[in-house]
């Protein structure tokens, strides 16, 4: 379970998160929507400790992410993250991209790491691309590679930061399908997304962020059909 308590986050004097409270249960799929600059991506970065917070706390399975004694590298293995830019390691083949972390972080043998990598690549539909370099893959394939790379660490949580925003429109579908697959398999997911169809169909809950505040959270039906906040209504009216 991820427990977020009253977190405040500043970039210099600019406050980007203004007191967020949120629980995400095991097995839940939460979509986070909102305009650019509303703080939704920053929230993800704070959850796995890539960004520091100035106030509040974030606990993942009862471990305080931002506490001094926390082994952040250990913790991150349990929090897979997929970014807007896929960030494939260009000097490694597809299978090496995925096998690297299991090998060096989890200290698996080369053979074992390759087996894990091959299985995860098959999982995301790249089973026939094991030995090609990322430069030979499309954006959608590279993003699925990034998902496989995160999954290879066997995380219990996955954080998606606008995973389809940088993709050509015709490539969005394959990545969303992979995310859907994970959701069906019971993965706990927090998806920052602009894909309203995905948020509506796949999420258990949808959170709407506005200027660093979580304006509203609820089941998709409520957010998309019967939003209370005027900001939410306005945002949804504009994206439709």
């Amino acid at each position: 379970m991820i427990e977020i308590r009253d977190i405040h986050k500043y970039f210099g004097s600019l406050q980007v998160l203004k007191g967020i409270d949120l629980n995400v249960e095991k097995g839940e799929v939460l979509s986070v929507i909102g305009a650019s600059g509303s703080g939704k991506s920053t929230l993800l970065y704070c959850i796995n400790g890539l960004e520091k917070i100035q106030q509040g706390s974030i606990r993942v399975d009862d471990v305080d992410v931002h506490a001094k004694g926390t082994d952040i590298n250990q913790l991150r293995q349990n929090l897979g993250m997929v970014f807007q830019q896929w960030n494939s390691f260009p000097h490694l083949t597809t299978i090496e991209n995925v096998a690297l972390s299991p090998r060096i972080v989890k200290k698996k043998s080369r053979a074992e790491a390759r087996d894990i990598a091959a299985a995860q690549l098959k999982h995301v539909g790249l089973g026939d691309k094991l030995d090609v370099y990322p430069s030979a893959l499309s954006g959608g394939q590279q993003q699925r590679l990034a998902i496989a790379r995160a999954l290879a660490m066997e995380p219990e949580y996955m954080l998606f930061d606008e995973a389809t925003s940088a993709l050509d429109p015709e490539l969005v579908g394959e990545v969303l399908d992979t995310m859907r697959l994970l959701a069906e398999e019971g993965m706990t997911m927090i998806c920052v997304t602009h894909e309203m169809g995905f948020a509506r169909d796949v999420s258990d809950r949808v959170a709407f962020f506005h200027e660093g505040i979580m304006e509203e959270i609820g089941p998709p039906k409520q957010i998309f059909g019967d939003a209370i906040s005027a900001h939410t209504q306005k945002f949804l009216a504009n994206v439709r």
Partner: protein
């Protein structure tokens, strides 16, 4: 009638061996300086990259001195002033030290460029997989950055090799000094400088060929 004393004699096979031996010394001093300079250059480059403004001001300024003062002045100053602080070094040791610092100053900027070539998103992606700072450096930043700046590093290495000719001013008999000695005796500067130039080319060419092949392989 007496034979006139001949002060000058023509270029002979033995002279070629003499030049070959000197080329060996050029290789030795170059390999040592480039290796030491690269190790320290990477360290300085890393310091420049992580320490931001503070590093640029302190380490950067220090390295700028060695990059901007002509090497020949550095060599003569170091060789003549080192004994004053109790270091009595022969020309070879002085040459290696000065060339190494010079190479380190040049490599530092290349190394910083290499680290910076790996963007923040890439490094965050590596860290998000649970890699430590040093694992990220070793397995992601190093290989990607190396490929990005390898041509620049080869340029530095070739430059240092050619600049090693300046150690001749300290009396170290490397390729250029050997050529000067032979020219004085034979009065045949054209042949000897051509041969010496050919030696330099023979030393540089394999390195630039090898690097071109590496780049080709990496670009696949």
């Amino acid at each position: 009638m007496e034979q006139p004393i001949n002060f000058f004699s023509g270029f002979s096979f033995n002279d070629l061996l003499f030049l070959g031996e000197a080329a060996g010394r050029t290789i030795l001093i170059s390999i040592l300086s480039i290796t030491i300079g690269t190790i320290f250059g990477c360290l300085f480059g890393w310091i420049l990259q992580v320490s931001g403004t503070a590093g640029a001001v302190s380490v950067g300024a220090f390295l700028d001195i060695f990059r901007s003062v002509p090497l020949i002045i550095q060599l003569i100053l170091f060789y003549n002033f080192a004994p004053m602080i109790g270091l009595s070094l022969d020309p070879f040791a002085s040459g290696v030290i000065v060339l190494s610092i010079y190479a380190a100053a040049l490599v530092a900027n290349v190394a910083r460029g290499g680290i910076e070539a790996v963007g923040r998103p890439m490094r965050r992606a590596a860290r998000s997989l649970g890699m430590s700072y040093w694992q990220d450096m070793r397995y992601v930043v190093w290989p990607i950055g190396l490929r990005a700046v390898f041509p620049a590093w080869v340029g530095v290495a070739l430059g240092v090799m050619k600049d090693s000719a300046l150690v001749s001013v300290l009396g170290y008999v490397e390729l250029l000094k050997a050529s000067q000695i032979l020219i004085t005796r034979t009065q045949e500067p054209f042949i000897i400088l051509t041969v010496a130039g050919a030696f330099y080319f023979a030393l540089s060419y394999p390195l630039s060929r090898y690097s071109a092949r590496l780049e080709e392989r990496w670009s696949q």
